[in-house]
Symmetry: D2
Subunit: 351 residues, 4 copies
């Protein structure tokens, strides 16, 4: 079993692991960690060493089964923090279901495979395995997070020296290609499309998206780190999840609908995980945006800042998880969104 | 008299003056313009030539009495547009008051005066003159917009060659100093503080702010352009204004309060003018932000993107006026905000 | 005839046309201008409004036959300036040849044509026409400068709405595609390759480059502006040109060889025109560079700064013309370079 | 004793410690390291986590006596690498002097002390101690490198909460203030000025500089790391050092003079250590530069790229150490420069 609780903790810097002390105060240890999902304060793009630094600080402290996902970029009011998914099998009285999570890794992907069918398949396989491990149906899954590799200049050069052409010769663009493949792998695993449709979408010939997929690319790994979060009747805890979709970057209504549902249930928002992107059409609701013509600041940075401004205001603080680049993660120009919330206590606890 | 209407029009680029065609279709001409207030798509900082380009395109087309204020930076979902304040003395039936506006310029400020007492005084004088011209009390004023100069390397070098020290040797910082002086000049003119308090605030020894002040600095001018917007019983039109204050960059409640009041009156939001800044304390509601340690993207850009994300979502489109750098414009870490809205028609029109 | 002299003049800003005063002092007028070739101080990328501003300031002052080429980006020690090619048919005593120049424009290129065969052909045609107009052989040509369009978000969206796919969906990348097509058009016109080879090179299947080509892309125009500079025995003036090739971005030897030849002839360097790029292999002389993995600063900015640092030191001042993005302009990782120099006077002047 | 050899090794990333393998092949171990001086590929400014990552990777592998100095920013053709100063007491036949080095740390500096007298004094003391340890006269010292702290938002906020005002409220500016204090501390220790002059210079009332000082600031430490490199007759090895001064960022002559001297001695350049800055006057040799008005790219990045372009071309590869921000390190607008070179072997070796 893998019932979990969620601990959200601010960080003083990418290498700040003080959240482990918070865990200890709550009676947990690092050995209980399923995943560390952090927002770090780099540029969130190719040369974001804040992610690598965070991974270097956290990974030696984690059990082999746990994964890290560090998403760079805390533009605007976003605040650097970590979200700890912590194994806690406590059965809370009055609850007949609860939040569960499982983490794993794909095999190492070669640079030639990045952004291509092999990556889609590897992610599909790992997500499928984790869903099975959780013993839930795909309908119970509310959030699948993937951290996947990108192509550096060195990897591109090595590929070309070997007579292979990478999916993109542009390092920044390779991030989007990698996110796309990961997200389509998630969509297949969750039954949102079949493999053929995913591969057609990968080559731009079909539109496929998953409102539960969240993918982020980085130079700090060679395989994909995967986290699946679901609700399960095998657990009994007050945490719940809802997912939805931003139809565009200013889609207040969709977020409000989710938050209203939490309120209707008497719940309290614990965290919001959202993807954001610059609408590839160049406009939002018919008005031109300039995120894709700004050669000084990449569009993923703009998108995080803007959607982060909205979500932080709605949540009431800046420690929200907003990640940039939403290829196949919610519809084009929008993004996937998952809210994790806590229902009020319904009595004492029973083991 | 100077009753005005407001035309908000998207632009295709900084030099796009197609809004003049929109004016013509509405029966106005360029000669009716009181002010052109635009968001242009540069970096909003020292070397933002989008502002200069917009001024070069618009100013030859305007009457001598009109002013331009181009605020650079359409980060995130913000959409480049112009807000035309157009003289329209039509007396609309059923209204006993209406929106009025007046525009003017201070004298040319020398680089040595920038950010200093002379600038405070010059702005105070011009704002005072415009308020008097409008024949309103300072309590009727809801918005005072100032575009003011900054210091370039060349100006700093010239000053130093003349044995004078500029208010700052850093070109980007000079923008903040100029905005500060302009805003304090507004505060004095509106009676929100006396001159002594303003000068103390200028030197960091007092806290003074105006929720109606909006100042923006640029290299494209040597004097200050000033626009005063008020309500007056001498006019009779359906436009109204409300002003408030963001207490911080995620202050949803203050914005909602303004929008609720508009709704209570049956009005329709026409435009939102807001200032935004990175909280100088380095945190928002106790959580660290990274806008002031990001050496790749200046903090004013971050602040516009974040607050723009919120306000665009609330307004429902990205053509909102969000300007970065809120020194003395609303409280520290927050910013001033003015909503211009339109009441429903109450009958036919009478000249 | 079109014998020319060259006036290099620093600028105070993109819209500074004070060089016209310099012209007047030298006895020329704006009507004598063949071309204004400037370095302006924007980012040199998609949203560089310094180029548009410069064009807006200069173009109304020029004869219809003249062209402007504004190349953005004065990173590092590069200094904003204009290079005026001025018609001057004076026959200087003691000279039996001299510098000549001709300028023209291609037809307007549609966004769908950008970066494709149509652009190659249009540039080939215009360069060919100008070479013929000069009455020189292609071997006498030392420098062909092209300013060509790029794709903005709006153009990309319009193309896609019409069911057409642009050469690139990335605005920054479209600049490189446009420079590539222009440069290959130059190579064909100069007889450095045939059209088939150029088209193969355009699609990445062949390597073609011209050491005399210099192409720069911008949003400020829809056609291509072309300038051809050659030596001709029909002119008699002390200006001469040499061209060469940087084999990489630190190729001191090739520059020194050109400068030594100038010195050997007793000449004085008047201007250096060079292209620069981040080596697409990711390394220079076997050592990794980071220009292609820097998501904060585009590689063309890095390349201009670095090569500008070298050439400015060699020339002795920062008013050199270094332009970024050297696709097919000199060999890969290097760039084309043309030196214009002046031989010592050989007596009086004769009309 | 502390005779040293120098190993220059390229890195694959900030956390690449493969140079330790190079050391091993040469018969050294990590225990022999005196200092690791690296160029890492971040932005070289406040939020440069490449430095922190490099320190995290290297410091656990070093003896307690060794220091690290990681200088961020490999703009343009600069190539990420490490310079290892390795203890090697071998007495090479035919040499009666050789390169020596000593490393140490100041006490921890409080944020309130940063950029102020206390920092000057602490650096003076540590440099003095290291010079004494080496047993050389200050005239034999050719290079003093200091890595010193900066102020983050958190440190500034903490200071202000305690009622103290930091030397600067701007995080980027704090780097310059810290470099200034360190460099003046070096100047005092080397006898280039007295303490009173240094303190006057610190407050802008005097001009003091050291052509042997190289200071770099970072968030990755709280004390100052110091390395002193000298020639000594107590050693006997083929390494030598020369120092000079760039009078401005395009001062080819000064560099050439140093390189010519190396050549005159039959030596081979092993490394060049230089500081660079944007001339604070806003111009270089009378021509305007735009490094101080570029709000997208900080001036230290521009300066590294430009001077790096020149020095890499002169050295013949990009693995040169160019660091940005040259306050009191060589004259204003220029920078200090030290060349380490190797004389030809003069026979066998004797222990």
């Amino acid at each position: 079993m893998s019932a979990v609780t969620l601990v959200v903790s601010p960080t003083d810097g990418p290498d700040d692991t003080a959240a482990l002390g918070v865990l200890a105060e709550l009676g947990y240890s690092a050995a209980d960690l399923v995943a560390v999902i952090g927002k770090t304060e780099g540029n969130g793009c190719v040369n974001d060493f804040s992610r690598t630094l965070a991974a270097a600080a956290w990974e030696p402290r984690l059990p082999a089964s746990a994964v890290t996902v560090f998403s760079g970029g805390t533009e605007g009011v976003l605040s650097p923090h970590v979200n700890l998914f912590v194994r806690d099998e406590t059965r809370h009285e009055g609850f007949d279901r609860g939040l569960v999570a499982a983490a794993g890794r794909t095999r190492v992907l070669s640079p030639a495979e990045l952004g291509r069918t092999a990556q889609v398949d590897a992610v599909t396989e790992t997500v499928g395995k984790l869903v099975a491990e959780l013993g839930v149906s795909t309908g119970d899954v509310h959030f699948v997070l993937v951290k996947c590799p990108l192509l550096t200049s060195a990897k591109i050069a090595a590929l070309r020296a070997a007579g292979r052409e990478p999916v993109s010769g542009d390092t920044y663009e390779s991030m989007g290609r990698s996110r796309a493949a990961s997200s389509l792998g998630i969509a297949v695993a969750l039954g949102e499309c079949d493999r053929a449709a995913a591969l057609a979408a990968l080559s731009g010939e079909a539109e496929v998206s998953s409102a539960r997929a969240s993918a982020s690319a980085g130079a700090e790994l060679d395989d994909c780190h995967v986290l699946v979060v679901a609700e399960s009747t095998a657990a009994a805890n007050p945490l719940r999840a809802l997912h939805g979709e931003l139809t565009d970057a200013i889609d207040l209504a969709s977020v409000t609908a989710l938050l209203d549902e939490v309120e209707r249930q008497g719940g309290r928002v614990r965290q919001v995980f959202a993807k954001a992107e610059a609408d590839p059409s160049g406009s939002v609701r018919g008005l031109r945006h300039t995120m894709l013509t700004d050669s000084d600041v990449n569009s993923t940075r703009h998108a995080r800042a803007a959607v982060g401004g909205l979500l932080a205001a709605l949540k009431g603080d800046g420690a929200v998880y907003v990640s940039g680049g939403a290829e196949h993660q919610g519809r084009s120009g929008g993004g996937s969104i998952t809210v994790i919330y806590e229902l009020p206590s319904r009595g004492g606890e029973a083991t």
